[in-house]
């Protein structure tokens, strides 16, 4: 079933008007031997049939709503008000607000979002969103290289491995050099920043969950005339020092913990905040307050000269469609919880994680690899292959133990706890892991 409204009468009248004898005739400019090929696609379905078959597919998945999986995304609770509000028909069915007079709803919501991200990061300027945390990092680094005119990047191994892979892809593209800062005892070791380095990247908390003091890294970067980029956990900013306060010129991260479903990895949104002086280097949409001809307050896309549709080859980025709706969900989430609610989510996640670590490290053969202090994720060394462990736990209806890449060591698994977990959940995982490792 398709969504075309044309009746046979419509077709006839419209074809006549455009002077085509049939639909095929509309394609006479095309190579005639190519058009209307046989496609090897399944038979069309009605809505009801499609939904039923999708339900069958969905039944082959197990919900991770109360999982202990981490590593970029976590099982947080999304308040019921978030989706109905952010997905109001007018928001979800609009596109980039090029026509501000009829897009004030979206533009104001983005302006509010920019303010919230600025508050979380302690940096004055936020853009309207980027694809995700990994691409936000890549764009942040490119921004820094543009600004410094340099071509070398130092990135901490504490940054999510997949983020570093994405970064590498982007840097290879422009022939920039990527060098890694290894971890010592689970935290970025101090480094010499040479004069050809344009940007240094640290993560807080890092991939192992450890909270790092990134100030020295930032200072080292600045001392060498480089910029400092902090990859941060959006939720942690409810309680942890802002990147702005410890010298980050650019803060980037993944927005999922803020009211977005895990959705098997996407879509969520990436956020980016920068210092005032970098605003004209910023990639992506940016909304500013202004007023209309009657002096009424309004909002509008601004500094568009940064963007591809004006600057083309010289644009700051090729990004066009970004992640507005999911970013809006983030804004609605932050407004729904407020500073206190967000702090409570963070606190409960932290407390649960620490209790979980206590329980699990009590299991013979299990050793905690993540150093103190850590946020709500931590890495354990297991006496057994983590892939195996994850499967056996899943067999018991519990999702946990993300296998950690070998670069960090052997038999390492990452665990996360959040506000959704109860003591019973923690005990349940403890018991299951005991069995699995027995």
């Amino acid at each position: 079933m398709d969504y075309t409204p044309h009746t046979p009468q419509d077709l006839e009248a419209m074809l006549a008007k455009v002077g085509a004898k049939d639909l095929r005739d509309l394609f006479h400019d095309l190579p005639q031997d190519l058009i209307f090929p046989e496609l090897d696609l399944p038979e069309p379905l009605t809505e009801a049939e499609m939904m039923r078959s999708l339900r069958e597919l969905a039944a082959k998945n197990a919900s991770a709503a109360t999982s202990f999986l981490g590593g970029g995304l976590r099982a947080h609770y999304v308040p019921a008000a978030v989706v109905p509000l952010a997905a109001r028909a007018e928001f979800i069915s609009a596109y980039t607000p090029y026509q501000p007079e009829v897009s004030q709803g979206l533009l104001q919501a983005i302006f509010e979002y920019q303010t919230m991200i600025s508050e979380l990061t302690g940096l004055p300027v936020s853009n309207a969103s980027l694809y995700d945390g990994s691409t936000a990092l890549a764009e942040g680094v490119l921004l820094a290289l543009r600004e410094t005119g340099r071509n070398k990047v130092l990135v901490s191994q504490g940054v999510h491995p997949e983020y570093r892979e994405v970064l590498k892809t982007y840097l290879d593209a422009i022939g920039a050099e990527l060098e890694e800062i290894g971890l010592r005892d689970g935290k970025a070791s101090s480094v010499q920043v040479s004069a050809d380095v344009g940007v240094v990247v640290g993560a807080n908390p890092n991939f192992l969950g450890a909270i790092e003091n990134l100030a020295p890294l930032a200072d080292a970067a600045h001392a060498a005339g480089a910029l400092f980029v902090a990859v941060v956990d959006a939720l942690s900013l409810a309680v942890l020092k802002t990147p702005g306060s410890y010298g980050a010129d650019i803060a980037v991260g993944e927005g999922q913990p803020l009211g977005n479903a895990m959705a098997f990895g996407g879509p969520q949104f990436g956020f980016m905040a920068v210092r005032e002086n970098l605003v004209r280097q910023l990639p992506g949409r940016l909304v500013a307050e202004t007023s209309d001809v009657d002096g009424k307050r309004g909002y509008i896309l601004t500094l568009q000269a940064r963007e591809q549709y004006i600057r083309r080859g010289k644009a700051k980025s090729n990004v066009t469609t970004n992640a507005q709706l999911t970013a809006l969900m983030g804004a609605v989430y932050l407004a729904a919880l407020g500073p206190q609610g967000l702090e409570e989510v963070a606190t409960r996640s932290v407390v649960n994680a620490h209790e979980l670590a206590k329980r699990l490290t009590a299991i013979p053969g299990v050793r905690q690899v993540t150093p103190e202090p850590y946020f709500c994720e931590f890495v354990l060394e297991l006496p057994k292959n983590p892939v195996q462990v994850r499967s056996e736990l899943a067999g018991r209806g519990i999702h946990a133990a993300v296998p950690v890449p070998a670069e960090y060591g052997e038999n390492l698994a990452l665990f996360a706890a959040t506000e959704v977990h109860t003591k019973k959940d923690l005990a349940g995982l403890e018991a299951a892991l005991l069995e699995v490792l027995a």
Partner: protein, 482 residues
């Protein structure tokens, strides 16, 4: 509009302006006893909390409901935004996505077989529709897909030791800005190829630029004028003759979805915009999805991982030594993939081809109607899914757009492509009725009747009227401050 108009004396208050210290909205589960300084280290804690809004849930609901009533979308009005394919987004897709919301990308694959099967089948179906041999679902949007595609081309040349020699990407002067921007991001030099008098790529000019130094040609076909590049095969042959790769920007695929396959025309790489052609909602500017299809010779370079089938089970294949690497964490915008999958399942070959054909019919019908209303069509022949028009002499495209706002319509794309002065790029899509096209055309005529003065003042009754862009640009106010 009824409410927030007054509730807030004329202006719409910011959520921060509705905030009251100590007011609570949604409450998370009770916090257990906690000493954060002990757990996280006092030196790591922020001195004071972020200044987030403090509102109750009803205020939250009224705020965003009110904002939505100051917003226009496809569900409210006709939205012929050229190059963006603002077709109807079926409501059922939202129900479909909800079935897959609680999956974590790192959960044991045996507990996510349904999701992996969906991705596997979508890779296959998109390859079939584009005439390609393999497809990656990882890119998050069209421009992201462009970068992915160009980087695969680059890796391909590299694998043949030709990278050093091929530093140039050719794009027509009618190309979308993201094409040249992408080429730059991929580290390529750029050369714009002029369009000929027929609005198509000037084949001779192109051939003059072609050579062993060219890495790729990026084309949209139909091009941004809504015209099909009739010499596409010669172009492809000429390109391949010198070892250059053909890149297809799929933003305009809606015109020929299932009717003609880029792969059959000689393209080596195709990106798709699932949020255009395959009804993923535009969401005010994303999230989208930009899968990339490639021919066999480029398959080794696809991003990692790919979804593969092993016997009865589906798995993520990370063992891709020649891959360009990753362009995004995890596996792409899965939620968008579910929608596209649902769409393809419902339409099948028949619905897909019919939808493309009717998108073309709607565009041509509207073109005729606008000509009757006095609009000029610089390249007037059977167009594809969209066409570019110009207002009558003396009228400004910007004013036409603002006049349409007053009439309750979203305007077409304006001032693009750049090669047409005062361009109005009109893409009605196949989901609009004949009556809607006629009402719109009538409105396009009516605003001309109302005259320049009225147009220059328009819009009049929208939530705000024309806004001061200069003020916004000079010293932009980018966040709220107390």
């Amino acid at each position: 509009m009824i409410a927030e108009k007054k509730e807030v004396n004329v202006e719409s208050p910011l959520i921060f302006e509705r905030s009251v210290p100590g007011r609570r909205g949604v409450r998370p589960p009770a916090v257990l006893e906690a000493d954060l300084s002990a757990l996280l280290g006092a030196e790591n804690l922020r001195p004071e909390p972020p200044k987030l809004p403090e509102v109750d849930e009803l205020t939250l609901v009224r705020h965003y409901t009110g904002l939505s009533r100051r917003q226009l979308g496809i569900d409210v009005a006709f939205y012929p935004l050229g190059s963006c394919t603002m077709k109807y987004n079926p409501k059922v897709h939202e129900a479909a996505v909800a079935l897959f919301a609680d999956l974590h990308p790192y959960q044991a694959p045996e507990t996510a077989q349904g999701a992996l099967q969906l991705m596997y089948e979508l890779q296959r179906d998109l390859s079939e529709i584009t005439g390609m041999d393999a497809t990656t679902l990882q890119p998050a949007a069209g421009a992201h897909g462009e970068l992915t595609g160009i980087l695969m081309i680059r890796a391909y040349h590299d694998s043949r030791g030709e990278h050093a020699g091929r530093r140039l990407v050719l794009v027509p002067d009618s190309a979308h800005g993201s094409n040249p921007a992408t080429a730059s991001m991929a580290g390529y030099a750029l050369k714009e190829i002029p369009s000929g008098p027929d609005g198509e790529v000037d084949l001779e000019a192109l051939k003059r630029e072609l050579g062993p130094h060219v890495a790729a040609i990026m084309l949209t076909n139909p091009n941004t004028l809504g015209l099909f590049e009739r010499r596409i095969r010669e172009i492809a042959e000429a390109a391949h003759a010198v070892g250059a790769q053909m890149y297809y920007d799929g933003a305009n695929l809606n015109a020929i979805m299932g009717v003609a396959r880029p792969g059959d025309m000689g393209f080596d790489v195709v990106h798709l915009n699932l949020h255009k052609t395959f009804t993923v909602p535009h969401g005010g500017g994303g999230p989208g999805s930009g899968p990339v299809g490639v021919k066999k010779h480029l398959e080794p370079f696809l991003p990692s991982p790919q979804v593969v089938q092993r016997g009865e089970t589906y798995a993520l294949d990370y063992n891709r030594p020649q891959s360009i690497g990753r362009v995004k964490s995890f596996y792409g915008n899965f939620g968008a993939l579910v929608r596209a999958y649902a769409y393809i399942r419902m339409l099948g070959q028949e619905g897909i081809q019919k939808s493309a054909a009717l998108a073309v019919l709607n565009a041509n019908y509207l073109k005729e109607l606008l000509k009757e209303q006095g609009y000029r069509v610089p390249f007037d022949r059977i167009c594809m899914h969209e066409f570019v028009a110009q207002p009558p002499e003396g009228f400004k495209t910007l004013d036409i757009a603002k006049g349409l706002l007053e009439m309750g319509f979203h305007p077409p794309t304006v001032y693009f492509p750049l090669i047409v002065k005062e361009a109005l790029m009109v893409e009605p899509t196949e989901t609009e009725t004949k009556e809607t096209l006629e009402t719109f055309a009538a409105a396009m005529g009516e605003i001309l009747q109302k005259g320049k003065e009225w147009l220059e003042g328009a819009p009049y009754t929208t939530p705000v009227r024309r806004l001061d862009e200069l003020q916004a640009n000079r010293k932009p106010k980018l966040r709220w401050n107390l």
